[in-house]
Symmetry: C2
């Protein structure tokens, strides 16, 4: 899938190891970008997603994969990085009215900022992020108006943008899609979802808990898409 032609556009793709970012990477590659993937070792309890990021990057044919270490645990404030319990069997993701404990303060802003630095050094014009505003668990930094504001700021922040050499675009190919449509899209693009991981609170062996918001949304997505779910869940909330 690699393309080394000099005029092929380059993109930085944020890769969490989940099915959204894997589908996003597949979409970026399909659109003809040379993709440089970026993951973060930020003190998350679901640390196994880093290995998934590496697998996905290789499987889909990214040009390279970088893991940036950043200690968000010392900032705290989230069930994903601090000593706060991961909520189980909640329905918050259905209403979108509350922001759950798994929200990591300013996470997408931090990840997009570092992606912006990476894009500037690489000469990449596009940053892909797999946010979606439908099954987004109520995270503020997954909404279109946030993404637009980030793009506007990014175009004032960098040397290349200021010199008028290139404009930075933040690409969100999944932003309008429910989880079931993302799964259909990824399947059509040839993504092997068995190598992705979504669980916020996996077993020591890396198996999905089956009960956290992320597992619940994932299971329901496969059911609604009518596509077999390759995930092994420790428990099923039937």
């Amino acid at each position: 899938m690699k393309n080394s032609a000099k005029d092929t556009p380059k993109a930085v793709v944020l890769l969490s190891g989940g099915l959204d970012s894997a589908t996003t990477l597949a979409a970026a590659i399909k659109d003809g970008y040379i993709c440089h993937t970026l993951s973060f070792d930020y003190g998350q309890r679901h640390h196994h997603e880093l290995a998934a990021g590496q697998r996905i990057s290789v499987a889909l044919g990214a040009a390279d994969h970088k893991v940036i270490r950043l200690d968000l645990r010392s900032i705290g404030g989230s069930a994903l990085t601090a000593d706060i319990d991961v909520p189980k069997q909640s329905n918050q993701h259905e209403t979108g009215s509350e922001i759950p404990a798994t929200y990591v303060p300013a996470r997408n802003t931090i990840f997009l900022s570092i992606a912006l630095a990476h894009a500037e050094v690489l000469g990449a014009t596009d940053i892909f992020i797999g946010v979606n505003a439908v099954d987004y668990s109520g995270y503020p930094d997954c909404r279109p108006e946030y993404i637009e504001a980030f793009e506007q700021m990014a175009n004032l922040a960098t040397k290349t943008a200021v010199q008028g050499k290139q404009k930075i675009h933040i690409r969100t190919p999944l932003i309008e899609l429910p989880k079931s449509e993302i799964i259909k899209k990824g399947t059509a693009l040839g993504v092997d979802f068995s190598i992705t991981t979504s669980c916020y609170d996996p077993s020591p062996e890396g198996l999905a808990c089956g009960l956290c918001d992320s597992c619940v949304i994932r299971r329901k997505g496969f059911l609604q898409a009518g596509i077999p779910d390759p995930t092994i869940y420790v428990k099923k909330n039937e």
Copy 2:
């Protein structure tokens, strides 16, 4: 200088260890904020600035000081983090027409993003950063229009902002001041500049080189302010 009253506003103050950020912290404390200082261990070659950040934070009476580790060296693209020479005796900072090799891609965006996360967790409403658009060495992310765009994005990015609980303000008390005025302001606020450090390429003992852009701007600032410069320079570019 600490104030523990419940209604006293809290601020996160970015602290590099230089004279600008020390003056900014002194200004924030004078304005009545409980200040939480934040420094970054990002692989900078002028690593000694971290000790200066700690000294300044204690000397001026911040509530606490946090150092976040973040490996920007693996992103590269700057004389401050990669194997690129630090330019010496240049006059780029006077013209502002060129962006020098010491520019670190998207650095202020990354630092402000992490400060935003810290502010959200602390319940702080203000983030102080010591940028200035006069002697700013041509960095794009020191300009007022960039700061405004960041503030706008920040108010769409966080849980507290979305819930309408508080608005985030990015405060830049030095943005319109030339270096000599910053030195006068800091002196009036009681900052001991002997514990600050500006050099991009210090000696192994941590002494200022005297020749990098940052040293040249600092020396000239003290001269123009008519205030004795407490800095020991290895070489003086007379």
